[in-house]
């Protein structure tokens, strides 16, 4: 068991290192932050001077070596645009903004899925079932940002500002972005819960329990739900990854001041330190969550032994 955990941990580290390395070289291929800092009427000499000041004129291998060593110290350098510590900026934007958004969406997409999925399964074939399946299909078929724009159109424009269209700060500002981000995962989870429940509801031990006269609800929730929980758990783990990358677009649509938007804004300006720090944090969260899901899966289902 311990060897397994250790291997998964090392694996997670390798993934993070891989992502960070790819980003490091990729962004340096794409542009020169020095040109951004100077006047468009700057001469080549001025740009070179700025590059020297930013340490960008050293050989790539040297920059990479320094970069790796600095990560060990937790130092991702200073943002080129704002001169503040890059990792600090990233964490500032991650918490609370993106964390709140992702957590709300995660909660919404898992908790709301349970009653909906259960109702759907227990009233199979009814209008509730068909309705929720249709809605799920719709939600999984639309681009999340379009849903966001349509919600803005409906709530912020047509209904006269019932909910704010942009920005952050209050619960009211959180509603539309969280709902938009949660929509597709919610749809998926409802279908999962439903199918998990359906599978179990027909099984022997449930029929036995019913025959014994146990309260219907007790039967449902104790036996069936537990069976549905496992796939939802896996999917939730992957959902978090989806939440994080979905947050990039949702934060842009709603001007939500989170990490996704920070990275999106850092890219045009080629703010290498911020891009690197941001992607690092994303990768750590992603790899970390996968690690936790692997561990939980092993704990919950001893039959599974992942390679």
């Amino acid at each position: 068991m311990r060897a397994f955990l250790l291997r998964r941990f090392v694996h997670a580290l390798v993934v993070v290192w891989g992502v960070v390395t790819v980003v490091f070289f990729l962004v340096r291929l794409t542009g020169d932050p020095a040109a951004f800092l100077v006047d468009p009427t700057a001469t080549q000499a001025e740009i070179e001077h700025t590059r020297r000041l930013l340490g960008l004129d050293r050989p790539l291998a040297e920059q990479y070596g320094d970069f790796l060593l600095a990560i060990g110290r937790g130092d991702f350098g200073q943002s080129i645009q704002t001169r503040r510590p890059a990792l600090g900026m990233v964490l500032e934007h991650l918490w609370p903004a993106t964390a709140v958004l992702a957590a709300s969406a995660l909660l919404l997409s898992t908790l709301a899925a349970v009653p909906l999925g259960v109702l759907s399964a227990t009233h199979r074939g009814g209008w509730m079932d068909h309705g929720s399946r249709l809605a799920s299909l719709f939600l999984q078929s639309m681009p999340a940002f379009w849903l966001g724009i349509m919600l803005i159109l409906l709530f912020a424009v047509e209904l006269g500002g019932l909910l704010p269209a942009y920005g952050s700060g209050t619960i009211r500002h959180l509603i539309l972005p969280a709902v938009t981000l949660a929509a597709a995962p919610l749809a998926q989870n409802v279908r999962l819960v439903r199918s998990g429940m359906l599978e179990v509801l027909g099984e022997d031990y449930v029929r036995t329990a019913r025959a014994k006269g146990l309260a219907e609800r007790g039967v449902i929730y104790r036996h069936a739900l537990r069976n549905a929980a496992l796939p939802v758990l896996t999917v939730t783990g992957l959902s978090l990854g989806f939440m994080l990358s979905g947050a990039i677009i949702i934060e842009t649509v709603f001007s939500w001041p989170g990490l996704g938007r920070l990275i999106v804004q850092a890219v045009p300006g080629r703010d290498f330190p911020v891009i690197q720090a941001g992607v690092f944090v994303f990768a750590v969260i992603f790899a970390g969550v996968n690690f936790v899901v692997d561990v939980l899966y092993t704990v919950l289902d001893p039959r599974v032994r992942l390679a």
């Binding site: 694996h11 990729l26 962004v27 542009g31 681009p143 379009w146 159109l153």
Partner: protein
């Protein structure tokens, strides 16, 4: 086959067929020019709204271009990119996955690591990098989307290869001295294809949405080529004054992707009803 009794799937297929036809005959179906600016006709509403005209059934955009025409031409982009990117991802992914699964050992480990790194990598960044270095074009868009999608195929192919390579018919082939390539092609590949078909269908749907997302962020095809994602992006700034600009491209994506998902659902049910439901 139970196809005829499954109404949703039939509808889905019908919609897909319609889209294909629309894309193929786009110029014939366009009331106006999707590309030419007519600044004096900008922002006309759809024909049923006040100020609209039958000339432009779905209105015009900020440069006076007919929305319906752009929608119909945009179908070409969405379909082309969706299919091509999935093809690239599929070929690369299945190829790598089969080889890694069959060979095992370090090749397998390497593939899994690379796949994990790929999954943890934000597609957006890849899109920007490719656009920056190679420029924004159809080919590059297909490359980016293909590069971000191959992992699923690789994993499935690898899984199949792992479980199949111990089976009798494979062992027999090897015992007869068949080279690895032959085994992969003749014995593993046909068995991998059925589960892949389902994944492919959903993949096309996901890729169409991904293309729209990249275009929405400005990483799509160069103007004035119409693409649904780019139209959505333009429309986003005119929510109050030009609501039709954001509504119709989104509806188009929704309808097409819905249709594909319906067919995918049916396909999955038909091929193996016990495959885990709901993963799309």
């Amino acid at each position: 086959m139970r196809f005829r009794r499954d109404l949703p799937a039939l509808i889905g297929l019908g919609i897909i067929a319609l889209t294909l036809v629309a894309a193929a005959f786009a110029p014939a179906l366009s009331p106006g020019d999707p590309v030419k600016n007519r600044l004096f006709e900008r922002l006309t509403p759809p024909m049923w709204a006040q100020g609209g005209s039958a000339h432009h059934p779905l209105g015009t955009d900020t440069l006076g271009r007919d929305v319906l025409s752009r929608l119909v031409h945009g179908a070409r982009v969405s379909l082309l990119v969706g299919l091509a990117a999935v093809l690239v991802a599929g070929v690369v992914g299945v190829g790598l996955g089969l080889v890694a699964g069959y060979r095992g050992g370090w090749a397998d480990d390497l593939l899994m690591r690379v796949g994990d790194v790929q999954l943890a990598f934000p597609v957006l960044l890849l899109g920007v990098a490719v656009t920056a270095v190679l420029g924004a074009s159809l080919t590059n868009m297909i490359l980016v989307l293909g590069a971000s999608g191959w992992v699923t195929y690789a994993r499935i192919a690898r899984g199949e290869a792992l479980s199949l390579k111990e089976r009798d018919f494979v062992a027999a082939a090897r015992a007869l001295g068949a080279p690895a390539g032959h085994v992969v092609r003749r014995h593993l590949l046909p068995n991998v294809l059925p589960p892949l078909m389902v994944v492919t269908t959903f993949s096309v749907a996901r890729t169409i949405i991904a293309e729209a997302s990249l275009s929405f962020l400005g990483l799509g095809l160069p103007p004035p080529t119409p693409s649904w994602g780019a139209m959505l992006d333009e429309g986003r700034n005119y929510i109050t004054t030009g609501w039709w600009l954001a509504l119709f491209p989104g509806l188009a994506i929704l309808v097409l992707v819905l249709a594909i998902n319906l067919c995918g659902d049916w396909l999955r049910d038909a091929l193996d009803p016990r495959l885990e439901k709901g993963i799309g």
